[in-house]
Amino acid sequence: MARLNVRDRMQSGFWRGLEAVGIRDARRRWEAQSPFLQRSLPPLVIAALVLVLAWVAGVPPHPTLLGLLAVVYALYLLPRRARRIALPLTVLGIALAYPFLWANELNGTNALFEIPVFKAFPNMDTMVAIVIFAMMAIGLNMVVGYAGLLDLGYVAFYAIGAYTAAWFASPHFASVDFEFGAIGVPEGVDGFHISIWLVVIIAAIITAVAGVLIGLPTLRLRGDYLAIVTLAFGEIIHQAALNGDADGISALLDTKTDFNLTNGAFGINPVDPPGFGSWLSDHLGLPADFIVENGTYVNFVTLIYWSAIGLLLFTVFCSIRLRDSRLGRAWIAIREDEVAAAAMGVPLMRTKTWAYAGGAFFGGIAGAWYGSFKQGVFPDDFLLNFSIFILCMVILGGMGNVWGAIAGAAFLTYLDKEGLSNMAGWFNERDFVLFQCEPVAQDPSKPFSAGCLNAPLLATGIYGSILVLAMLFRPQGLIPEERRQREIEEGVHDEPLMDVRQAPEEGPG
């Protein structure tokens, strides 16, 4: 409310200012203009003013920035319904074209403009991570956003997916020699080598089954207990990965065995990189191999990136269709009021288990793909921090909203991979009064030392702050989903029996 007042006051001040300069009846005449003009002109004027001021101050407008502003302005002008379609398409277009922009940046031809404080745009590795983490965020959004079940062990599905990729597409099981549409490995290398596309499907199915197995015993619990149990499952999976080598399994089973499932703390390395294989290459022209540069294709990372965007689109499509399906509506009913949903005939356990399986399915796809991209799977990637990281994306973007999850993933992944260290670099270059960075005296184990900022160490605190601040001030997220927002405003929750709105502040006692 307060913000609206400020805006109103600024507007009336502006009109009064015009009156004072001698332009009479400015407001009435302006409001008599066509609505299109009223909508289109002010941002143009403001943008022009800002750009001219910046130019005068010595910052000439960058062509890429101008292009971007033009796109944003065009989207702003579109009517609401058209924008709903045009906005995702524009973002998709920019995302698909990004490798070329980045190549220009590397060449130095038509380089991108510098972002203040964060300095650089994300590089291609970060972009791949963004797309894959967005997939995971959408998967988690199904569990947390749609069905309202707080899952703090989502990393378990990521881990299972990644290890599936490592088992079925790597030289890890050296006693077997099995190849099926494999790419990126020469013939005759030991171990399972299955085409990564099949592995992704296998991983998705295995993680979905794991989701059901984890869900069946735990989903009967509610609230805090469910959160803690999922968290415990995440920790168990991490520890199983850490101790899944021959020694650890021997100790657990109390018999000597040579079976090495996860190769312990060293992880499984290398994992086969993706590709489409020679048959698809011959018939459809898809790249046979993501590693070898063959003619028109740019490079490994770009191909992985585009394929990941394909998978992300598939995920988004499934997620939206699921939400609008009978199952999805049942999820939302459970989120809003479990008792009422059960009374209306929604089978609670089955519906919740499907939410788990669905979330796990996409976590598995993303995990397998990321394992293949990094060409290695290591147990320390699967810590609780990662679950919270993904949860943060969902909450920042807006629980229940697919686009919010993607936006949250983009922002937080960039922050995590590059943004924070860029920011620290920016901070340390400057001599602030209290913080004069002495790199020699810096203690790498502390976030602040010798006036230097080591921002990546602040990551957990930043995620925590995002969670707390979002819950306190904007629980519906940055891009709120309509229905969810109404729920929060109207205060739908599980204790409706005696709805005393306000607990007394002071009382005898």
Binding site: P217, Y225, A232, F233, L467, G507
Partner: protein, 270 residues
């Protein structure tokens, strides 16, 4: 965890505690560390409650849960900012002479003085807590609020003040536990508290949520299970699997006996 950090700081900086320090230095050092850590953590926890939880008391169930996770991450990071990521070492200050010995060495069990130390602190605290919850007005208000906030408010209980008091108490206890940990294990790190907190929760669930003797029983059982998993040579899987075993127990209990060993049925389980 913050409590342990405080204890380490207090013990090292104020008392410059060293190995084999005399009882005359040790006892005041422990007491002052306890006092400062408990007071500090109590205030910290109450502040957190005021700032982060109280505004959300009427929010949907998911909201305060997420806030709690966020707060725990922030606290961890605060400790990291304060002390860095390297572990803090404490001197071996507790006397480790033997009290009594079972069987003849080398196959003996030696019970040393430093092992008595946690019991010396825990037992009075437990008795005090049981008294507080069972026999005082405050305790009654706490139990009433836990059962039904609205009804408690109608009966004239100041719900906000009661909850704030509980948070004060919980913070003080966590601070005390941190002091014990720092003195006994002699090493503490910014993320020490996390796994311990989870294991503590497991212990509380095993004993039965809302049941203080149950919590202590649960903690004893979990401790024994950990010892069997880690150390005793009898078919033990080894320290690598401790968390897995403990958390599997947690899941089993929540699924099959959500009320815990000594507890009553709660609406959250079952």
């Amino acid at each position: 965890m913050i409590g342990g950090m405080t204890a380490a700081t207090v013990a090292l900086s104020m008392f410059s505690l060293q190995e084999g320090a005399s009882l005359g230095t040790l006892v005041p050092a422990i007491l002052v560390a306890l006092l400062i850590a408990m007071a500090g953590c109590a205030l910290l926890n109450a502040t957190i409650e005021r700032v982060a939880y109280r505004p959300l008391r009427r929010a949907p169930r998911l909201v305060p849960l997420i806030t709690a996770i966020g707060v725990s991450f922030i606290l961890q990071n605060v400790a990291l900012i304060w002390k860095g990521s390297a572990p803090i070492a404490m001197p071996r200050s507790l006397p480790d002479g033997s009290i009594f010995t079972i069987a003849t060495c080398p196959n003996c069990v030696v019970y040393t003085w430093n092992r008595l130390f946690p019991i010396l602190i825990t037992v009075p605290v437990l008795i005090g807590l049981v008294w507080l919850v069972r026999y005082t007005r405050r305790g009654k208000a706490m139990r009433a609020t836990a059962q039904d906030k609205d009804a408690a408010a109608m009966m004239g209980i100041d719900v906000n003040r009661t909850i704030a008091f509980v948070f004060l108490l919980a913070g003080a206890l966590a601070g005390a536990a941190g002091v014990l940990f720092a003195f006994y294990f002699q090493t503490i790190r910014y993320d020490t508290g996390f796994t311990i907190g989870l294991i503590a929760f497991t212990a509380a669930v095993l004993g039965g949520i809302g049941n203080l003797p149950g919590a202590v029983l649960g903690a004893l059982l979990i401790g024994l299970i950990q010892a069997f998993v880690e150390g005793l040579s009898w078919h033990s899987p080894g320290p690598g699997w401790t968390t897995t075993v403990v958390f599997s127990i947690l899941i089993m209990i929540l699924v099959f006996r959500p009320q815990g060993l000594l507890g009553e049925q709660t609406p959250e389980g079952g």
